[in-house]
Amino acid sequence: MGRYVARRLLQMIPVFIGTTLLIFLMVYALPGDPVRGLFGDKGGSPAVIASLRHQYGLDQPILVQYYHYMKDMILHFDFGTQIASGRPVTDVLGEAFPVTLRLGGLAFAIELVLGMALGIWAGLRAGRFADNAILLVSLLLISVPVFVLGFILKVVFAFQLNWLPPNVNDSTNFNELLMPAFVLATASLAYVTRLTRTSVAENLRADYIRTAVAKGLPRRRVVGVHLMRNSLIPVITYLGTDIGALMGGAVVTEGLFNIQGIGGTIYQSIVRREGTTLVGLVTILVLVYLLASLLVDLLYAVLDPRIRYA
């Protein structure tokens, strides 16, 4: 187990270097210069432009820039400086990540609890009315685009019923975060429901369930322990990758509800050709993905003791 974890952690190094280098090269390949972009139509004093370019090392070859960037990041935990604001990228990240973590966390909780509950309910009543109703709802949630759903919810809950504020001004206020978190969770929620339902329905007919029922175990224990443990493996796999997706894929939702998190920051960094900010953000996202998938793999062993790691 320990060796397995160590091996997995070591594997992260090339992935980490590869992704950051790719991002660096991609931003570099885009036309447009972040320093020149600060000045706009009118242009600026050539002396100022030159000294800014020099300060951010933009006058050096791309691989040298990358080398310096990675060196600072690994040795000093210094992610560089945001060119427009002159603020350290760590500050920018420090503002954006907690926001997205709260939003993503809430969305994850919603999709986990609601999705699995609906899935189990549908799975236990496979083929009956409840199952079909849930199928219908989940298909609807998958197929409605995020911004349509966001708009409908806003009209209903914010403007007509006045229950919830339409937008987020303070991201520590969970009342304000509730609606965007639900919107963010919907698509994944529906997938979790479908996966759980299929898995539960299938395992209900498995031998070990029949045995458990035949042993005279109470239904609560049959479903809660025997059925769930085996049914959750595909769901956990999906949830693991979804953590990363929730962190990075919230661009639309964040824009829709005025949330100043990772999504918007990534978008702005691309538009302004802020390679350093972008790489900083993506680096952390990559780490989130890698750790989440490691966690998922380790959870398999907990759920199904037949799976062993060496």
Partner: protein, 541 residues
């Protein structure tokens, strides 16, 4: 009214990106002070985005930062809504030859930290901002002052740290000497770049950008990044534009749609712009609180004169193209009345604006358009493209303009879209525009010179089309050495009429502010640069 916008381009990008449409009709928005009881200590909120740069006066180029800087810093002068000078921190700015200006400051002015505002506060701040080592994005604004080239040479190391053209006479007097006479120089002094800085600024300029100390009507309270910036009324303020409210919360919005929703549900009080999506409904939603007012900015399409196509073009061809554009219909339909057809090169609301300066070149007339193009030898290749940035909401009107040209004259026309503003700028800087590009200009200072000299002089900062004409250059030089401001204004009006014969660009339309405010505030008015005038806003009890 307070004037000069910073942020030519960002403002343009934003304005164009955001303000794309709405209902027509003029109408004032003087925000009549209602009878409702007013709370002089009440605070209100304004929609902004996160300022891109630290809040240093010479470093805020874009509109999100400049609106905050304007509330914190007062300059020597400001303007009223007709483009006339109003003295703010200056008692007087005198000159005999338009080259050396003597500035006398009003007494009793203090910075928010209690230190007095002196002549040194100005001179030192300008020298600091002009030095390339301090990397202020707007440093080129000081380039008219004698000695700037020694402080910030285009190449090589600086020879001096202070500009020889700035001299402190005594605590309340200093002189500015320019390299050459500029009759309207005093207008430029109203721009935020020319703010004074307190002594504490130089100890840690970086920290001062996070916690600015100014001499303006408001003092800085806090900046929660990407959330809001709070400023409070400065009780010791001596200027004519004392705040009629207790302070301002600059609330951060990432897009205009959400800001409008928050306006409707009472979470924000003043908007700077309505999103295109809401333009068709905002007047019925807001009633008398809807704002629809002209401001001083213009949209043009400019031929890239360095290309083979336009190198030796007969201006008649460009006149013909201009007459092939049905401005009235496009502004009404495609742009939903948010623009007003242009009739000249100078935008409304600035000193020296003349209605219908361009004559019939701006009227839609397909027959004459065809004739002019034929007379001028036709459009080389019989096809044009208009370059624009796809992230700015320009696609629709570019297509409409193209259709109009093609229908009227048979000249093939297509949009040439660049992914975003950065890529668009890149192509313009590198002189890679294939045929024409869309361009825009928001006033820096309210005088017609700003729309002519800064765009169409051969060596002007804003001239990216490669337009160069000896006659125009000579006329500009003559207008700049005019003996008085009025004379200079008149000469620039003559140049504007002259431009018809050279067609350095094809003006399309003037911008309008389409905005609104909540029923908690009153007295909301908008300046020529399109921003709300914060100090005049009153908060109801």
């Amino acid at each position: 009214m307070r004037g000069a916008k910073s942020a030519k381009w960002v403002a343009i990008a934003a304005v164009v990106a955001l303000g794309a449409t709405a209902c027509g009709g003029g109408g004032g928005d003087k925000g009549s002070d209602s009878k409702a009881a007013v709370d002089p200590a009440g605070k209100f909120s304004v929609e902004v985005g996160e300022p891109q740069n630290p809040l240093q006066p010479a470093n805020t180029m874009e509109s999100n930062g400049s609106i905050v800087i304007k509330s914190l810093f007062s300059q020597l002068v400001s303007y009223d809504d007709k483009g006339n000078i109003v003295y703010v921190n200056a008692q007087s700015v005198d000159t005999k030859d338009n080259k050396t200006f003597t500035v006398k400051l009003k007494s009793g002015w203090k910075f928010h930290d209690g230190t007095p505002v002196t002549a040194t506060s100005y001179v030192k701040a300008w020298n600091w901002a002009a030095a390339p080592a301090n990397k202020q994005t707007n440093s080129f604004w000081f380039s008219d002052i004698a000695g700037y080239d020694d402080v910030a040479p285009a190449k090589g190391k600086p020879k001096a740290t202070t500009m020889s053209g700035l001299k402190v006479v005594d605590d309340s007097t200093f002189t500015i000497t320019l390299t050459k006479a500029i009759p309207y120089y005093v207008y430029k002094l109203g721009y935020e770049v020319f703010s004074p800085l307190p002594e504490s600024f130089y100890k840690d300029p970086k920290a001062a950008g996070e916690h600015p100390i100014g001499n303006g009507p408001y003092k800085f309270v806090s900046w929660a990044h990407k959330k809001q910036i709070e400023v409070a009324k400065f009780d010791g303020y001596q200027g004519p534009d004392k705040a009629k409210n207790g302070g301002v919360l600059f609330k951060n919005y990432t897009n205009l749609e959400t800001a409008y929703e928050d306006l409707k549900s009472g979470n924000v009080d003043v908007l700077r712009q309505i999103a295109p999506k809401d333009l068709p409904v905002y007047k019925s939603d807001l009633g008398s609180r809807a704002v629809d007012k002209a401001y001083s900015a213009i949209q043009t399409i400019a031929p890239a004169f360095y290309t083979k196509q336009w190198k030796n073009i007969d201006p008649k061809v460009l006149q013909g193209l201009s007459m092939a554009i049905d401005r009235a219909t496009i502004t009404k339909t495609v742009l939903q009345g948010t623009r007003e057809p242009a009739t000249g090169w100078v935008a409304k609301g600035v000193l020296g604006y003349e209605p219908n300066a361009g004559g019939d070149v701006f009227t839609y007339n397909p027959t004459k358009a065809k004739q002019l193009i034929k007379d001028g030898g036709g459009v080389p290749g019989n096809a044009i493209t208009i370059q624009y940035n796809a992230d700015g909401g320009h696609k629709e009107w570019v297509e409409a303009v193209c259709n109009s040209i093609t229908n009227a004259t048979g000249v093939k026309c297509a949009g040439d879209s660049k992914a975003d503003f950065q890529a668009d700028l890149n192509a313009r800087d590198a002189q890679q525009v294939k045929s024409m590009y869309r361009s825009g200009w928001v006033l820096d200072f309210p005088m017609n010179a700003n729309f002519i000299r800064d765009l169409y002089g051969s060596k002007s900062d804003g001239n990216q089309s490669g337009f160069s004409n000896k006659k125009i250059d000579a006329d500009i030089a003559a207008a700049d050495t005019a003996s008085s401001l009025a004379d200079s204004e008149k000469k620039y009006q003559d140049i504007e009429k002259e431009l018809v014969n050279y067609m350095p660009s094809i003006p399309l339309w003037y911008y309008k502010v389409n905005a609104g405010y909540s029923d908690k505030v009153t007295g909301v008015a908008y300046a020529q640069d399109g921003d709300p005038i914060l100090t005049g806003v009153q908060v109801k009890k």
